[in-house]
């Protein structure tokens, strides 16, 4: 099967406007949230991971971030490749400000124009799992020979609808993100623009071995244990590896009381010997549809540069899992998992060349 490699990456999130800035900021993770005030029945202040780029015009800010991140990933080399935009909120922030009309195709055309893109463009929206599903689609297109290059571009930017909707569903924390924490009380959302440049034409440090997405309709707003287990099994099969070949798992663990427990149980029932676990949510927030790509960018950079996460909270011992407090050595393969709305459970396996 044709190997699909990750030839470039770019990232803007609350920790910085480039991979280098993000890595430099990582050891001081706790200081990177701002407060957002919401009205109504769930009124109050909520922590939020905003990208540190001030710009009053939503579209101009989005354009600058998309161009910056895509350039960091080397997108200018593959403008006739496939562009897969992954988002759960499109440009709804601009719609809220009266700066544009809601229009999926116009959004796709706008982003393509920002990048001077001439190849095919697809917009994937499977809520939080969007960018992992975009990666799976890109891999399939590249494996089939339909294309040799693809850019997966996760875009999740400031808007009131997502924050308000999550607050209305009582899913947000007012105190902070505590993945698998014993005091976990909800999600902290964040902005991110992340790019992964995929290719079959050149070697790279990391390759995309495979992955899987399992939608379970019985839990339309949450995760299910059986779907977590099936997701893992399908991802192993697609990647032609076994559970014992996984050296590290980047978990979803967004700090949800229910979903974190479900994810932990699913992993416990899948792995006879649990690999080290890592969560990036406390550092960068949950960036919804961009989170899969953003967390893969950050984790691969961390593994290459020997930078690791600090956790300031205690892990819930009843979950039967632990987060790795030091970097695991010799990580050859890791799983990156996102669980989301719509009963979507997605995971990809990356392999070091």
């Amino acid at each position: 099967m044709t190997p699909v490699n990750i030839a470039g990456r770019g990232l803007a999130c609350s920790l910085g406007l480039s991979v280098e800035q993000v890595l430099a900021s990582l050891p001081q993770t706790a200081v990177h949230t701002t407060q957002v005030t919401l009205p109504g029945a769930m009124a109050g202040d909520y922590p939020f991971h905003a990208i540190p780029l001030s710009q009053s015009d939503w579209n101009e800010r989005a354009r600058e971030l998309v161009q910056r991140v895509a350039a960091e990933a080397g997108a200018q080399q593959i403008r006739d490749g496939v562009l897969l935009i992954a988002t759960s909120s499109f440009d709804i922030g601009a719609v809220e400000r009266g700066a544009t009309q809601m229009d999926y195709q116009a959004f796709a055309d706008k982003v393509a124009a920002w990048l001077d893109w001439s190849g095919p463009v697809h917009v994937v929206n499977t809520a939080c799992t969007s960018s992992l599903n975009a990666l799976l689609a890109a891999q399939a297109l590249l494996r089939s020979g339909e294309a040799t290059d693809a850019l997966v571009l996760g875009i999740e930017l400031d808007n009131r609808l997502t924050l308000g909707g999550f607050a209305a569903l009582q899913l947000l924390s007012r105190t902070g993100s505590k993945p698998f924490g014993d005091q976990r009380d909800g999600l902290v959302l964040g902005e991110a623009v992340a790019a992964l440049r995929l290719t079959t034409r050149e070697h790279a440090i990391w390759g995309l071995a495979g992955g899987a997405n399992v939608v379970d309709g019985e839990q339309p707003t949450g995760a299910s244990v059986r779907a977590v287990k099936e997701m893992c099994a399908h991802a192993f099969a697609d990647s032609a590896v076994g559970a014992d070949a996984i050296d590290l798992i980047k978990v979803q663990a967004a700090g949800s009381p229910g979903n974190d427990a479900v994810e932990a149980q699913g992993l416990r029932e899948t792995f006879k010997h649990m690999p080290p676990l890592v969560s990036l949510k406390a550092a960068m927030g949950h960036a919804m549809g961009a989170s899969g790509a953003a967390e893969i960018v950050l984790l691969t950079a961390c593994l290459e540069r020997g930078v690791w996460l600090l956790y300031e909270h205690e892990v819930d011992k009843e979950l039967g899992v632990a987060l790795a407090t030091t970097m695991p050595q010799n990580v050859r393969r890791f799983m990156a998992t996102i669980l989301g709305f719509g009963g979507s459970h997605a995971s990809v396996i990356l392999e070091r060349a």
Binding site: F90, Q105, H122, N125, L136, V215, P220
Partner: protein
């Protein structure tokens, strides 16, 4: 080239006047608070599956859903609600296209790979399907609730045997009663 045989279809553009009653009959009860777009999607997908002679979608089949305007209506409603309060929880859920994927999965008693692709065309959706689906094929839908509404679905399975003389497929010819096969070739989609 990937060749698909059309095993079943639902071409509800516009849907029949009694489509809501038909849907309630298929579900055993009137759906509650899932929104018009999701109801239209369920109506078309379940009809398509029935025409294909399948009670359930095979676990390794792919479910791909596309739309030109998707959840615009509930999103507009949620934005209205946010002028002075939070959106209603169920209204917010209706803004998420992935909720329809979950509803479809639940109704079809199915767990598998499903995705929503926003915008584009039915042809580009089929090209993605051709790259991603295996031998169990794909349930491919194109659902819009605006401008009279439409719920277009095809149950497609890869095959070796082709039928007729293929011609370049418009969206209309993809979703027509005449087509028996669809072909995904290097430069687009053909139908025969």
């Amino acid at each position: 080239m990937t060749t698909f045989a059309i095993q079943g279809r639902c071409l509800a553009v516009p849907p029949p006047l009694d489509w809501r009653e038909q849907l309630a009959g298929m579900l055993g009860a009137k759906p509650r608070r899932i929104g018009n777009w999701a109801e239209l999607g369920l109506y078309g997908a379940l009809n398509c599956l029935a025409e294909a002679g399948e009670k359930e979608l095979p676990p390794d089949a792919l479910l791909l859903l596309g739309s030109q305007r998707g959840t615009y209506v509930p999103t507009g409603q949620a934005l209205e609600q946010m002028h002075d309060d939070l959106p209603m929880p169920l209204t917010f859920l209706q803004t998420q296209p992935s909720q329809l994927l979950a509803l479809l999965a639940a109704q079809m008693r199915w767990r598998g790979h499903a995705a929503f692709i926003a915008g584009g065309t039915p042809q580009t959706l089929l090209e993605l399907a051709a790259a991603q689906c295996g031998s169990a094929g794909v349930l491919l839908g194109w659902v819009d609730e605006m401008e009279g509404g439409g719920s277009l679905w095809l149950r497609l399975k890869p095959c070796e045997i082709s039928g007729g003389k293929p011609v370049v497929a418009s969206a209309e010819s993809m979703f027509s009663l005449e087509a028996t096969h669809l072909y995904v070739v290097g430069n687009g989609v053909q139908a025969a």
